[in-house]
Structure formats: C-alpha cells, structure tokens
Amino acid sequence: MSKRIMLLVIVSLICSNLSYAQWIEISNTKVTQETTELGGPRIVIEYDINDPEISKDCPAYVFIRYSKNSGTTWELLPMEHLRGNGYDLIESPGHKKIIWWGTGETSFADVNQVKVRVRGIQMVRIPAGKFIMKSLPGGGYDESKNTKPNSNLPLFYMAKYETTISMYTDYLNEIGREGAGWNNRMSDPAAVHSPGRCGIIQKGFAPNFAYSVKPGRENYPITYVSWYDAAAFLRWCGLRLPSEAEWEKALRGGIYLDGDKTKQRKNPLPERKYPWGNKSPNAEGVYRCNYDGDDDGFPYTASVGSFDKFNSPYGACDMAGNVAEWTLDWYSTPYHTGLDGFRMVRGGSWMAVPAACDAITGATQFPLKESSIMGFRGAKGPGKSH
C-alpha cells in the first residue's frame, strides 16, 4: 500500500511535507487571506486530492486544524464555518477549494503566526437501511438503548482502515507535548514479551515531547490505546467511534447494499459470518485475516490493508482480526446498571482464534485498558458521540 502524504501548510505559503501513512495524499496546498466588503475577512484554502479510489462509495473525510500561535496549540476548524467542495466528505478527486468564512478567527493580526493542516481519511459509505443484527449490543443491556437493537440504521461512514501508528503519532505531535495520549508501552516494537508494541519513540521532555515512528511501523494499526485515547483521537479529527450496530452492519452489509431507498443491489449474504462471506478465516488453506499464530503470515499485527481481498461488502479492510476495535457501546449487564463502565470491542485480533474474528463476537474491556490486541477506527454519522 502506498504511503500517504499530509501537507503542512502555512498561511504565508511556506509549505512543508510530513509523511504520515494512511492519511490520504493531499498536495499543492495553497492558503490565502482575503478581505471582502460585506462578509469580512476570509481565508481560502486550495489543494489537490488525486487518490483515484475516492468516490461516492469510498469518500475522503477531510478535516482542517489550525494554529494561531505558530503551532503551539491547535484547534479543529468547525465545519459550519466553511464553504466549498474540499471539506468533510469528498466524493471525487481533483482540485478543491475551501472558503473559511469566519468572524473572529479569520481576521488574524499576524498571518505569519497562523498554520493550517489539512488531513484526509479514507472512508466507506454505508447506505441507510435495514441489516440483520445478530449480536446484542452492550452485552444485552444498556440503559441508554431500547430492548431491540436498531437494525435500520441511517446513512453513516466508517474509516476504511484501522487507525495507524503514523496517524496516531501525527496526533501526538500536535496534542502530546505534555505526554497526553502516549504511554511507554507504545514504544518499543522489539520488546521481548510484547513484540506487538507500536514503535512510537518519545523524545525530549514535557512540555516539549516530540514523537516519531520506528521506520517500517508506520502502516501498522495503533495499539495500546485506551477507549479514552481512541475517543480523543477521533474528537481531534471530528469523528467518533462506531456503535456496535454500525460496526456489525459495516462488516456484514445491509439487506440491500445500496440501501433501502433504491434497493437495487441485494446483499447475497446478509447473514454472513465474516466480511468476505461464511468461509472460515483459514478455510481451504486460504488465509483471509490476521488471527492467532503465524500461519497467516503475521505473528503479531499486520500493516493495515494486508488482507484487502477480504474486505467487507462496503470495502472496509481488516474488520476481521488484526486488532480488536473499540466501539462506542457500553457493556452493561442487568447486574450493575451502568456501573462497571465497560466498553465493547469487536472484531477479533491477531491473538484470537479464527472463529472469534466473526461478525458477532465481542469482548468487554475496561475503558482504561491499553492492550496489544486493541485499536480502533473512526465513524461519521448521525447519532451520539463520545
């Protein structure tokens, strides 16, 4: 899989490239500040996004973060301040233009102090409609839900890949100068007893920590992230974790893959066990995902997209195995209503038996748990957030 590139853009048009795997490549970024007669000042951000995979079914989620103090602190640019064709969900490649209409934010006294970063994440579109939900979200009881899980979900989008080590490192370099979001188990991939570690190297001292990735580890999924770490990363992007229902639908597909509005493409296997169908992950000597052992070629995590021939009907990669994925759902039993604070993970992992890499198996985890077998991916859609 080709490496993606994110461009760092400075308003004064001094641009620098940072290479972070799994952000979609964005190039030729240009930022200008203009004054208008009636609308006040505005900033125009232009860039090219040429990934040929970008389409209505596989859009790019583009978000912009900016700093008013030369990169000391950063903020997510609110989408409601933007106009144009280059933010949020982008359904076609090409040249994009964003107009940042603001009030206070766009009249910067010193534009040389302003930095803007444009990043994109590959998503897949999951059309609105019914699907066959087989698990009981939240382990069967969550006080915030109705008795029956919602099997008729509105349109939503989910990241095509699990969040990678390099994406998370990029995030750390923005928010982790004091050490937030990082723990030392993310560090050494050669640790004898836990070779699944990430390889994120922390250097310097608070409040000026800097992070880099051990070469070769960029495209591997981030692990050792707590539920709170995952939620914070996704808030930083403007996304959220998927619910268990969303996760299961993204794996299995709706009854109609094009959704209930058009009903043109009937899902041939709406009750499938795995993203690719019903064959076991290791049936007939074919290895369809990264599960326990190294028969599949990966004793620990695999770089994301390594099993892209076995995607979900919507094209989501690695929904079976590799890393179990945090979801939005609480786990709660009738015992301890909302008291235990567990969260659910789904999708098996590189340490799971093949059967656990299916559509319905989940595990309860303390939200503070940082594990070599757990990562996450983002979702965007209506509904609650963190």
Binding site: Y141, P334, I360, T361
Partner: protein, 449 residues
Amino acid sequence: MKSMNRRKFLKGSIGAATTFTVLSQSKSPAAEEKVVLGIMGVGGRGRALLRSLVKRSDVKIKYICDADTRCYGPAAEIVIEGHNYKPKFVQDFRKMLDDRQINAIVIATSDRWHALGTIMACQARKDVYVEKPLSLSIWDGRKMVEAARQYKRVVQVGTQSRSAPYTDKAAEYIRSGKLGDVYLARVFLMQESGPIHVADVQPVPEGLDYNLWCGPSPMPPYRPGRWFWRLWDFYVGYIMADMIHQVDLARYLIGKEYPDTVCNAGGVYHFDDGREQPDTQFATFELGKLTLLFEASLWSPYMHRIVHLKDKTRFPDWPFSATKVEICGTKGFMCFGRHGGGWQVFEEDRNIRESKAVVSEPASLKFGSIIDAHFDDFINCIRTRKKPKADIEEAHLSMVLCHLANISYRVGNRKLKFDGATETFVSDAEANKYLKANYRKPWVIPEKV
C-alpha cells in the same frame, strides 16, 4: 496410569458413584516453586481474576480454558502482558485435570459449572478456587464440601470480602461483646437493575461448544446474551448471586450457621422479561435468638453500591448504601460496608439523646486489592494445606441461606422449618423437591463424590 486412561476415567466418573483410587497426585508446590494454575471460564469474571493473578510472581498460569474458544484472545493477552508467556488453551476443562503439573484450578464459569467443576477437580486432586454463587442447590454445595474433604483439597470460594483487612476487626468487635447481645442482623441488596433481554434463536456460533457451555443445565436452542439469567435451571437469580457477598459477611460477623426457619416475601413485581427469580425479596430467618433479615430489590435507583469510595476517609451514606450489613446489639449498632465501605459502630449518647459513632474504620483500600488479598490466602493455603478464610464449607453455609429464601419463594412464600443436621426441610415434601437441582446427562453430580 497414563494420561489418556485417566481422562477416560474422569469422563466415566460423571454420573457414576465411582470410587476414585489412582489419579493425578499433584503434590503441593514447595515454597520456592510456582503454583501452577489452570483457569476455567475466561469471560469477564475470569479475565478479572487473571488480571489479579498475573500480578503474582509465585504462580504460573499454564492453561486458560473456555467452552467458547472465542474467549481465548483477550484472556491470553492478559497472561502474555503480565507474565511474558503464552498459556495453553483448552476447550474441555478435563484436559487440565489430566495434567499432573497443575496444582489448582480457578473456576470462573457461569454458575451452572461451579459444583461439578469443583467436584471433578477435587477428584483429580487439584485445589480449587471457585467463584460465587457457589451452587445451584443446597445438595450441590454439600457435595462440593464432601469432595473437598474426601480428597483433602483446598477449596476457596470467591466471597472475597472475607479477606478485606477490616472484616476481622469488625467480627472481633462483636465477639468481644462490645456490641452487646446481638438479636437482629439485616443484610441489604437494594439497587437499580435492568431487564434481561432475550435475543432471537440463532445457529450456534463457530468456536462455541454449546453442549459443554450449558453443561449440567438444560440445552435450549442457542441465543446470544444473558437470557439464561432468568431461569432457575441456570441461576439463583441476581439478588442471591450478588447478595451472597453480604450474606457471607453477615454470617462471618454474627458467627451463626443454620437457621431454624425461613420465610420469604416478595416476587417479580417490576420486570416483565420472563424471569423466574424475584426482583423483590424480603426474607426472615430465625437462628435461635437472632433474627436475620434480607432486604433486596432490583428497582431502587436511589440506593448506591459502594465501589470503593474515592475519599478513603469517608463512609457510605448508610441509609442509601445498597450493599450494607447492619448488626443490631443491645449496646451498639454496626454498619458494615461491602467492597470498600469500612465499618462504624454507633451508640446512644444519653447526655444529648443522640447516637454517635464510637468506632469508625474506613476501608482505605484500592480497587482490586481485596481479590489480591484473597489470592494471597489461596496460594498460601495451597502451600500450607490450611483451610482458607473463605473455605468451601463456610461459603456453603452462607449459600444455604440464599437457597432457603429462594425455596420459600418457590413454594409460595411459605414459612419453612429447616433441619441443619440433615440439610432438609422438616416434613415438607414440596420444599424438599428444591433441595437438588436438575442435571442434564452426562453432567450429573454423583451421590458419592
């Protein structure tokens, strides 16, 4: 005898009144040796126990075992992270029993496997830690005690509140007479709970041995979720499954064994989910000159469980404590809090005609420290062959009270006379029918263990 033959023998022993002679004679590990463990059931509770066990350098977790192979990954990860080795995984617990290196089995399955799993482990000369609630019936529990004694096994039960350091002090306070004569004790489990959802019938998932998973209980068509918590054949009900902690504490504090009578009140008043067990229970026990009350409800959001107070100097707001024990003596009144609540004693100050705290001992415990202390006791007893603080018989006697309240409910909330010497009801054929659970062949607990 070879391993395979031994396993066949174990299989053959199920349901038969077999005399066990030659089995894996795992000797107690020497002080410098690690205690080798296998853990049976690695769902949520099993993984919680693993997290405590991997803190210890004096144990080796050789096996993790679950009828559902899908539980393997999250459990194995805990052992690898904590102990730097990969445990073996087995789906059938009998393979662990065959291994002579195994000193003890930790049983954290659902309740239906507690009794037979313990008995078979004792037969295989393994020491046992078994989770609460101990048993599905009084008879099950008695057979567990018999197996422990016959095979001279250490069997500790997961009523870990006995290992809280402040428990002994409170018990000693009562035994010293400082509370006066104790005529009344109240045990609470009043909290908010929720309905048990029942999913549609589905094919059995790949990787799950559903027959083994159901074990001694019936095997209805597969559904995901906790549907089985509604049924007597699988579960003693949430009230007793959790209240057993406080019941055991109360019995430890008051030092009593069997009641003379039991009378339950209550029913399924709040939930409409097909559950068989009551959501409201008020049970009265007569133990000589002491009356013991259970007060339990699952619909009380204003009551709060004590899950380790953040401020370690504080005490629960006792009137709203969901899991407290109250001991009423002629001199003083004791409030005792489960898992991190500490204890206080109040006495009348005649000068101001108010009750004042004369003893206040907060718990000052970190979350998880009680289970760590409980395992300290277990491992120590494996080496010394002493009885653990939460010995199987103590846990059985506490569980008897829970079963008695349930049986009174099942016969129409009648007052029942109980004979502790025989562990049967006095001249009450209807109540005696409930002394023994239903078992599904071949997972039948033998008359003679």
